[in-house]
Amino acid sequence: MRKLTLPLASLLAVVVTFAWVLRANDRTVPARFESQDGHTATHTMGDLITRDVVVSIHGGQIDPASLPVPGPITEWAEIRKVETDSADDRTRVRITYQVFYGVRGPETAELPPLRLRVTDAGGSTLVEVPALPVSFMPLIPPGIPDEKVTIRATRPAERRPFAPYGRWLSLGVGLGAVAGFYLLWLRGLLPLFSGPLPFRRACRELQQLVNQPSPGRAACLILHRALNETAGAAVFANGLEAFLTRHPEFADLRELLDKFFALSRQLFFAEGSDDGVYAFCLKLARQARRLERRRS
């Protein structure tokens, strides 16, 4: 038994050492360039070219300072946009170029190489990305002199789906309308929806009487009508308490209403004078309108 123990322990030590060495080696794998798009298709002046570069970074990250920045890079190309996207141990750098290479015949050119710096705990590594060859075709067909070139017809505008915008627009207009109605309702400016507002109408009608010679009787009639409409029945002096019980919002007007009925009684049934009746009715109607709005 003892004869077997020693070789087994040695074997285990060798295996552990080997695994540790492998792991240490794995940690030290440097960042490296993996691939980029080919772009063998030909382009013409003004085309956008998207270049995808995949870099394996092994736990590091690309130094943003080493990324190309939007702007002109050669006399015929500029960078429009640079985006990065990391997943697992790889980072994809997407660079969008726009080229302005005017040629009279098919030609090949190269988008310049990139040098990306990947940093990790062990320091930084430079990753060389090779230049990207790009083929160009002339805009003017071959064999046609410049003066014979005709400008191509303007390309029609691209058709874009408007359905989503229409839905959003309808929703916005609908919400706005609801909010508007709510605000108007709060202000009591929607007679159709806020129920009848008899005293508001009474105030308006009373103001139209201002220049009449003896507006007292007409004013009383208008107020009686507003009271009756509010109550849903004819209101008489002896029914005032019942009215205020059903419409407590007007309770503050008890004294004024009492006085109003007394004035009305004198005016209509005792053939009294209408001096001061109009002003009193107007004052009462305005106060009632305020309370009525609060209720509505």
Binding site: C220, H224, F236, A237, R265, F269, A270
Partner: protein
């Protein structure tokens, strides 16, 4: 008569009327409203029909009124075999063994008769109703080849609403002659009910009535003061228009937007208030205004007497007549609520 004198006279009469009301209220508790209406009828020179359950105080009320009013009081009981002659005279064999004819309850007191109470009037035959109608309308009756006049007479009739067997429904023409129909109910106030049950004062009606001051109102002068009251209370143009609207609403309630549950409003009314009816309503309303101390009418005066003067003058189609008690109050309340004044 000068205006000042008339004013003073009316004020004096008003104090007497209110004293009369207070006195009757001493003996009859819980019936303040019917007592006020009887007082109104007295000064409006109208006859009154009382309706209510048995034992609610109708007779006591009328006896109290008769005592405080003064003058002669007579009472007859309506029965199915009562004939008109029984009211006018009765015959019997006197103590000398000879037939004798004496005046009946109507003629017995001559023109001093001030209150005639016809109890259970719907038990009497239509012939009796006819006689009663004439006395009510003309304050006169023919007997023994001459006319007897009763210038101060006020007729009260009572109709028991519990029993309907062996009764003769009073025709609409007869009901229209009554200025008011009053519904007498047992008092709802528990304190008043306790008093009626436990206070010995109310157990002996004769003694109770003896405590009332008799003849508070000089009944012989009432026919003279009544027209003065009517003339002294003004009805403005607005009020006249309101009363006209009320009248029209009793005839065509649907035109005023009135609705009563499942009732077909176009078929409900067979006949609305009569011209005599609304005339009596206004007479009563004027007295109500006078009792309230005013010389002008207001809508509330009409409201005070609207149910009592108009309720029995509206006739429903037979299909609705059986529901009369429930419908009439609702109809009259609805009219009051629908018709506005001014």
């Amino acid at each position: 008569m000068s205006a000042d004198l008339k004013h003073t006279q009316l004020a004096d009469w008003r104090q007497r009327a209110l004293a009369f009301e207070r006195e009757v209220c001493k003996a009859v508790i819980g019936l303040d409203r019917p007592i006020r209406h009887i007082l109104i009828a007295v000064f409006a020179r109208g006859h009154v029909m009382l309706e209510g359950d048995v034992g609610v105080g109708k007779t006591t009320l009328l006896r109290a009124v008769a005592r405080c009013l003064g003058g002669a009081y007579e009472r007859v009981e309506g029965t199915i075999d009562l004939m008109p002659n029984d009211l006018v005279y009765h015959t019997y064999i006197n103590e000398h063994g000879k037939p004798q004819v004496d005046p009946g309850p109507v003629l017995k007191h001559g023109e001093d008769l001030s209150v005639f109470f016809f109890n259970e009037v719907n038990r009497a035959r239509p012939q009796v109703h006819s006689l009663l109608l004439r006395i009510m309308a003309e304050h006169a009756v023919s007997a023994f080849n001459r006319e007897y006049f009763f210038p101060y007479l006020q007729i009260f009739a009572d109709r028991n609403r519990v029993e309907k067997e062996e009764t003769f429904e009073i025709p609409s023409a007869a009901r229209d002659r009554f200025m008011m129909e009053l519904h007498i109910e047992t008092p709802a106030d528990p304190a008043l009910r306790c008093a009626l049950m436990f206070d010995p004062k109310f157990h002996d009606v004769d003694r109770l009535l003896d405590t009332l001051t008799p003849g508070l109102l000089p009944y012989r002068e009432i026919p003279q003061i009544a027209p003065v009251i009517q003339q002294s209370v003004m009805a403005s143009e607005t009020l006249q228009r309101y009363a006209l609207d009320l009248w029209e609403a009793t005839r065509h309630p649907a035109a005023y937007g009135l609705k009563l549950g499942d009732v077909d409003m176009d078929r409900l009314i067979l006949a609305g208030a009569s011209a005599r009816g609304v005339s009596m309503m206004m007479r009563a309303a004027r007295v109500a205004a006078w009792l309230d101390g005013r010389d002008y009418l207001v809508p509330e005066d009409i409201h005070d007497v609207f149910r009592e003067t108009i309720g029995h003058r509206i006739f429903f189609n037979p299909v609705y007549e059986l529901r009369r008690t429930a419908l009439i109050d609702e109809l009259l309340d609805g009219i009051r609520q629908r018709v506005a004044a001014p």
